[in-house]
Subunit: 377 residues, 2 copies
């Protein structure tokens, strides 16, 4: 293998795939990045087995020349640190006969140990049954609005995922995540679809989806999502992720949305988020924040034993229904309110032990559910 | 106590004194901030016993009105978090009869538990023997250039300090710090002095000096430094630090500077710093970087077993003397080079086991010494 690549392109490619590195590699080779060069392209791969990130650069191009095909695996940590610290210009990467990667740029000459590219785990053969095309900006937005609500506990693996379901005969995609306490749901339009088979609802690890969507900087391009029996592939502009699906049934959430509400308020999102943050300061480790809605208006309150208490009046755009007091996790409420990216919010309540529904518009496909805390202390 | 103060002023004052909070308070009251209001001012105090930070705001003024004198101590963590999260405007702080601090701003009403201000440790009576006036910009610069070289180990307490010595009959102040491996020395001019007694050399905790100087944003003002028998006081624009001196003799460092040099090079600081950084990437945990100076020029090199090695040529402005190879701690060299804030550096060597001298100008009062590592591995 012998390639010449601009520092900018290699740095850009490494940034895209770095999230694919396992934090604790189960095999030494997984701490490496696979470099594979042929006449047409350079492919960089990182793998954590259940998820593989790839970045491809075309050759010959202004940024890359492949002088000699070949492949190798080199320590990800060192490669990333070195490329980050190099000034601009061209980097030459050349395998020598004794298995050393010779890396030269400007006045710097690095010689790095490598691993056998044949040992690097291959991605499984992918059976592309069905695929859709979705705008990158839309995908990034809905992932940001939903994935935070997934569980981080492995107690119920399916809840660490985001459920993806095709709706409206394939014209839209619904994302849903819940950790059992809070739930986020959001629907986005699909640019184009190619249905080979009716699409089942699938579940993908929330962190994988977040890692992929973070790298979507070109909001005008689209991602092709291809659904397999056990895997899912996301592809855009040379960057791709192949991830295993999480097996198991995602819990049904339809019955969580009550048909009618006893109390409903509408308020300004930004000032409510700030108020929840200020009141949460005295909510202690339990993070219990109370909200009291009366005919006079609404107020948030919290008490931290031995420290003090706080009360803050909340301005309402309007209010309808009965007086009610509910308690909830202040951090969870703030996460939800920040995720909505809406100027105004509707909060609907049916009782102090019933789910709190947060919506950005009446009867919208975007909704959040927060399970209240039964008693204040 | 009852005061009204702008959120901006209180936030600004709290930022100044927060570094005076102990990380592990030996008494519960030291986790608090003392607020003391009288007809003329509000004083905020944080104390870690060996160091006390105070901030004073005059009253009445545009930012502060003292409605009723008094003092109290309130949890620093909660006060800082609350004030940070409040929007702009005026904050009213009022002690109620039951020892609760009533704090109101906008729609938020906090009621905080307090501690008895009489329990807060008093600063010792200060015997102001001698004082000098130094420009804040100069003080901030020289502290940044010297304090990093102090030791962080308590094995020799005096080395955790910065030595301050008056020079040139009181027209300049020399700061010096060393951890035994590296040494930094810098001299700054004094604006004005008032010598009651001849001034001994004193030693002050490097971290205290850094904490104080970080807050010096107004480079045009001056700090008055007052020297006592056991303490030192720094004062500028209502902000002050009183710190205990570190007892003990600072090691003599005069004989470390050799009278003549075998080899001398001059180079560009920024490109040398970057080169040291790039080579250090393969220096491993031992951080051993080699520098080889020959008639052809200079190069840096490092080897990390099982990973690889690196060589980088260093451009020299000029070179004089014998060929030599020395090894040093790459991180320490980079810290020194970055601290110099000079465009060009002179590096002087007398042998591979003799101190490496780094200067910003020939025969300057600013110099750095780095003890080499005897062998590469």
């Amino acid at each position: 293998m012998h390639i010449e690549i601009t520092r900018h392109s290699l740095h850009h490619a490494l940034q895209h795939i770095a999230a694919g590195l396992p934090s604790r590699p189960v095999q030494p080779i997984l701490a490496g990045i696979k470099l594979q060069a042929d006449a047409h392209r350079l492919t960089l791969t990182c793998s954590k087995l259940t998820m593989t990130l790839k970045y491809q650069l075309p050759s010959p191009s202004e940024m890359l020349t492949v002088q000699q095909s070949g492949s190798t695996v080199v320590s990800a940590r060192y490669l990333i640190d070195i490329v980050r610290s190099l000034p601009g210009g061209v980097i030459s990467l050349r395998m020598t006969e004794n298995g050393i990667l010779h890396m030269q740029s400007g006045q710097s000459v690095y010689r790095l140990a490598t691993m056998d590219a044949n040992e690097f785990p291959d991605t499984p053969p992918f059976d592309d049954r069905t695929s859709i095309l979705i705008n990158n900006g839309d995908l990034k937005t809905i992932v940001g609005q939903v994935a935070f609500a997934a569980s981080t506990s492995e107690a119920r693996p399916v809840l660490t995922g985001v459920s993806m379901t095709m709706r409206e005969g394939g014209r839209s995609l619904k994302l849903l995540a819940t950790d059992g306490i809070r739930l986020a749901a959001r629907t986005a339009c699909i640019d184009a679809e190619d249905f080979g088979n009716p699409l089942p609802s699938i579940v993908i690890e929330a962190k994988h989806l977040t890692d992929y969507s973070k790298m979507l900087t070109d909001a005008a391009s689209s991602t092709q999502i291809s659904f397999g029996d056990h895997d899912i592939r996301f592809q855009t502009n040379g960057f791709s992720m192949l991830a295993s699906l999480i097996p198991g049934q995602f819990p049904s959430t339809d019955k969580l949305l009550p048909p009618a509400f006893g109390t409903e308020i509408k308020l300004d999102t930004a000032s409510f988020a700030e108020a929840v943050g200020r009141v949460s300061l005295l909510a202690g480790d339990s993070r219990v924040v109370g909200m009291r809605i009366t005919e006079e208006g609404a107020e948030l309150f919290a008490t931290s034993p031995d420290i003090g208490d706080v009360t803050e009046a909340v301005a309402l755009a309007w209010r309808t229904g009965e007086a009610i007091t509910v308690y909830f996790n202040g951090k969870y409420m703030k996460d939800i309110v920040n995720a909505t990216e809406s100027e105004q919010l509707y909060i609907r309540l049916t009782g102090r032990e019933k789910p709190i529904i947060i919506e950005t518009a009446p009867d919208d496909d975007t909704y959040y559910i927060l399970t209240p805390i039964r008693s204040a202390h």
